[in-house]
Subunit: 123 residues, 2 copies
Amino acid sequence: MRYSKQRELVHASIMSSKDHPTADRIFSEVKKEIPKISFGTVYRNLGQLVEHGFIRIIQLDGITHYDGNVDPHNHFICNECNRIYDFELDNEDFISQVEVKNHHHVSGYQLMVTGTCNKCNIN
Amino acid sequence: MRYSKQRELVHASIMSSKDHPTADRIFSEVKKEIPKISFGTVYRNLGQLVEHGFIRIIQLDGITHYDGNVDPHNHFICNECNRIYDFELDNEDFISQVEVKNHHHVSGYQLMVTGTCNKCNIN
DNA sequence: AAAATAAATAGTAATCATTACTGTTTAGTT
DNA sequence: AACTAAACAGTAATGATTACTATTTATTTT
């Protein structure tokens, strides 16, 4: 993968964003630095970054978001403020439930929890 | 919601299908009975059936599928045969983990587990 | 049972996200 | 400095979904 300024900025945009931006948002962000960048370039680089394990895709209500945190973690989506929070989980229990009760072999999972977040709960 | 043959068949198609069909698959299926049905009709009825809680949407790799089982359950996707299995889970443990450790209030969740299924594991 | 009404339909056009294509530019190599 | 293949910008194409409109039809009212 040859260096390009475009890919660097696409990556940087995701890493600096504390939420999980869409391709559209990343495009707008990078456009500030490289006004002539095209959508194809953003998508191509997103694909490569995913392929090489630098970022990860998360699907939310059918919309594709990108996540710079590639360590295993889960997402909590607040129904009120729509913020997406990362959280970790002790998952041995439910993985073993699936393995023992259903006799499948588990290699991974994606968990998305919804509700109201601690900030919105205060009111 | 006024009765229509089209909606009845859209619903019936999902209920009789043991996997989780896409809009496209449902369209083809219903077309056998009503050759002049249009895609708009399928989408509109899917939307209404979801809205009234008769069916449920599941997203899988960014592709929208429909599920006639509205009882709480989770999905296991086999990486080898691509079958989707339903399974239930004792989830009190991880829900309380999120509530206690992160102080969010949980109202629902979606869990998608991947791996190799018991049929594919035999070989 | 006929007339009235509003919901649902078929067919088509429009939208939106994503991918494909093409000729030009550019990072890294010889 | 010349070379080569990867990456680019710009644009066209695709595929899923939604919007629009004139017509049909389920249900209610007379």
